[in-house]
């Protein structure tokens, strides 16, 4: 057991992947000498060399596109997109090529490319550096999307993404990069595509993922003071979604709050709400209530705290749910 930050856990996870499989390699902007703008790849170029930790030209479509080619040749490229808002020049390669390669080849070809994307807000940054675009990838079949919320998951999920035969996008909760946690490097966590119940409760369920998991836990703790027993589920995987775990919980609690930083409209919360409303229709005491960003571009740093779902916003949603 070691204590490390999420950033360090990913760094160690990448290191383990590079050590375990000579076919793995890292590609991205500034990931070599600099170790990435968040130092997540710190030291890896020094130890594994420029052929395995590649400072690429500044071109996201080129990064994803060449990663696909490398994967076709048997490599396992792990791409870093510098910030959430800069994945879009690579959107075509991800959506029309990476996601569809397996189906296009009738299952003959795999493209086990990993795309790491630091995402989410709350870091006081400028435009395009605080977005949560996960729903824009979840709608596309062929991709898998995971997002760790703690160091232990971070360490293992990045490695599980690398060994997965399918393309995996790993959304990294950048404002939690410095969050410390215990990591057991000897025993892998289970299925990265399953949800984890982090706190059990009987009156309502909160589903959150990535950066909002600590917020959801804090909201549940606050609700307890008000006499409500609230279950908290860390979704961990956005595609596929572990609906079984969520349904099981909601069948017991009868109330569901889904929280994410991404705008509510068209967000992944809608999918969860729709499916759980269908699966647990007769158990629901209240409608599923979503807590998310507003329908606007991510706002400037000075107002982001009012935009981001926080403990109070989740409590307000719980209040509404309890009011039914």
């Amino acid at each position: 057991m070691a204590t490390m930050t999420i950033a360090k856990a990913i760094n160690e996870g990448l290191r383990a992947s590079l050590e375990n499989d000579p076919k793995t390699l890292l590609m991205g902007e500034d990931i070599g000498e600099l170790g990435g703008v968040y130092r997540v790849t710190d030291g890896l170029k020094k130890d594994f060399g420029a052929m395995r930790v590649v400072d690429s030209p500044l071109a996201e479509s080129g990064i994803i596109g060449t990663a696909i080619g490398l994967a076709l040749r048997g490599y396992r490229p792990i791409c870093e997109i510098q910030f959430d808002g800069f994945v879009f020049p690579g959107f075509n390669q991800i959506t029309t090529q990476l996601a569809k390669l397996r189906t296009r080849s009738d299952g003959m070809l795999s493209a086990p490319v990993v795309i790491r994307i630091p995402y989410g807000g709350g870091i006081g940054s400028i435009e395009h550096h605080s977005e949560s675009p996960e729903a824009l990838f979840a709608h596309t079949a062929g991709l898998r999307i995971i997002t760790p919320s703690n160091a232990q998951d971070a360490y293992w999920m990045i490695q599980q993404a690398v060994t997965c035969e399918d393309p995996v996008i790993v959304f990294e909760p950048k404002r939690r990069y410095w969050l410390k946690g215990e990591v057991d490097t000897s025993a892998p966590v289970g299925d990265p595509f399953s949800a984890h119940v982090l706190r059990s409760g009987t009156d309502a369920t909160i589903v959150a993922y990535g950066p909002l998991v600590p917020v959801a836990l804090a909201a549940a703790a606050a609700a307890e003071e008000d006499g409500h027993s609230v279950e908290v589920i860390d979704l961990r995987s956005i595609s596929p979604i572990d609906f079984d775990t969520v349904t099981e919980s909601v069948t017991r609690t009868g109330r569901l709050i889904v929280a994410h930083e991404a705008p509510t409209f068209g967000g992944i919360g809608g999918e969860i709400a729709a499916r759980i409303s269908e699966r647990a229709f007769l158990s629901l005491e209240a409608p599923v209530i979503r807590v998310g960003g507003f329908h606007m571009p991510y706002p400037v740093a000075r107002v982001e705290e009012h935009y981001l779902p926080d403990i109070d916003r989740i409590l307000e949603a719980l209040d509404r749910a309890f009011a039914y």
Binding site: G65, T66, A67, L72, R73, Q93, G107, A141, D166, S239
Partner: protein, 404 residues
């Protein structure tokens, strides 16, 4: 063998020279079109050029003297044209959803495809049936896509010929990435035969950002890749002058690697120049861009009507530059092939067409159920859930059927 027309020609690719070749298609400045086999069927005895400051003698790559090889190039071109005709007919008869003809581009495709070594890997767009032939892909497999029974059709790893890619230019970075993989393989095991990739794209696709990004990556990493642009003058209805005002071969200059324009209807030159470029790439010298100047003699696809946007006169102007006709003329004039050769070939092609037709008619649609399995490599609960729904739903109809 008529080789008097030209001495060992010295084409100064970088200079602003007006081509002296009868085949020089039109007056674009800044680049010369390399050619040894002229439309009139005469063959130059050699070919040298200065490319990006590099003096290149293509003679070692020229197959001009090898009668058997020349006949086999002709055979490939002839068969693939026949294949094209049969596929067009199959489409007209409703057996294919769509067809993308290659007629006119046989020289560019057979020439470049034959230049590939077995260990090289080709990334086509969607019109490269000729290249598929040279790679040994079962031709009927190509028609699976156009019959609408698959988006693929063959196992690319068997013949090192990738699946068709319909999003224009998207395969170009794949070719570069694959080439970067080849580089790493070579480093890990120097006993491997050096290999390269080739990325096919059109004059239209050349405008896409992906072409640029892949050239940037290729140049930056000296990736062993040959960019092969078939400038067939048209992107559906848009003439290549909308995509560029100077020869596309010149794009390479901006990245610092060689760009060459070849007469795409001269299969001999195309093969020689591609062989040179591939060898150069394999030897670690980085990418080359080849622009094969050619013409789409048919419609864009069977859904297209070129009379809406181009003149029959233009089409007729290209007729005498046909890649097959000139090689036939040469083979006959030089006494390298006789009537029997051409008759046998015709019979072989007819038989091939018959087999093709049979194979196509035998192709059955997959059922949707089978498609669920192809989305992910590993188990996926949503796929399982939807598949279960679909099976029950379909079973419901079967039950109804039974009850009725």
């Amino acid at each position: 063998m008529n080789s008097s027309r030209l001495p060992a020609a010295e084409f100064e690719v970088e200079e602003v020279v007006r081509a002296t070749l009868p085949a020089e298609p039109d007056g674009e400045p800044g680049v010369t079109t390399l050619q040894v086999l002229a439309p009139d069927g005469t063959m130059a005895s050699g070919l040298t050029a200065t490319i990006a400051g590099e003096h290149v003698d293509f003679s070692p790559y020229l197959a001009a003297d090898d009668a058997g090889h020349l006949r086999s190039l002709y055979r490939d071109m002839f068969l693939i044209r026949r294949f094209d005709q049969e596929s067009t007919a199959l489409q007209r008869q409703g057996q294919l959803a769509l067809w993308v003809p290659l007629t006119g581009q046989e020289g560019a495709q057979i020439g470049s495809g034959r230049a590939l070594a077995p260990q090289d890997y080709a990334f086509p767009t969607y019109r490269e049936h000729g290249v598929a032939l040279t790679r040994g892909v079962e031709l009927s497999d190509i028609l699976r896509l156009f019959r609408g029974v698959t988006n693929g059709g063959w196992d690319p790893r068997e013949r090192n010929f990738h699946l068709y890619t319909l999003v224009l230019a998207a395969q170009s970075p794949h070719a570069v990435g694959y080439a970067m993989g080849l580089q790493r393989d070579q480093l890990a095991d120097p006993s491997l035969p050096p290999a390269a990739t080739i990325a096919y794209f059109g004059d239209g696709a050349s405008s896409e950002g992906d072409i640029h990004e892949s050239m940037v990556f290729a140049a930056s990493f000296d990736a062993p890749v040959v960019f092969f642009c078939q400038n067939n003058q048209w992107a559906i209805s848009v003439p290549s002058s909308v995509q560029t005002k100077v020869p596309l071969a010149r794009r390479a200059e901006g990245y610092g690697f060689p760009g060459v324009r070849v007469d795409g209807n001269d299969v001999v030159t195309v093969e020689a120049v591609t062989r040179w470029a591939l060898e150069r790439a394999r030897s670690g010298k980085g990418p080359v861009l080849i622009e094969a100047y050619t013409y789409r003699m048919s419609a864009h696809t069977t859904a297209d009507d070129p009379t809406k946007y181009r003149l029959t006169r233009d089409e007729q102007e290209w007729q005498p530059r046909d890649p097959l006709a000139r090689l036939e003329t040469y083979l006959r004039a030089a006494g390298l092939a006789d009537d029997a050769f051409f008759e046998d070939l015709g019979a072989e092609a007819a038989a091939m067409a018959t087999d093709l037709r049979k194979a196509v008619l035998a192709m059955t649609a997959p059922d949707l159920e089978s498609r669920f399995a192809a989305v992910y490599a590993e188990p996926h609960p949503l796929i399982q859930e939807e598949l279960r729904f679909f099976q029950q739903y379909e079973a419901g109809f079967a039950d109804e059927g039974k009850q009725a």
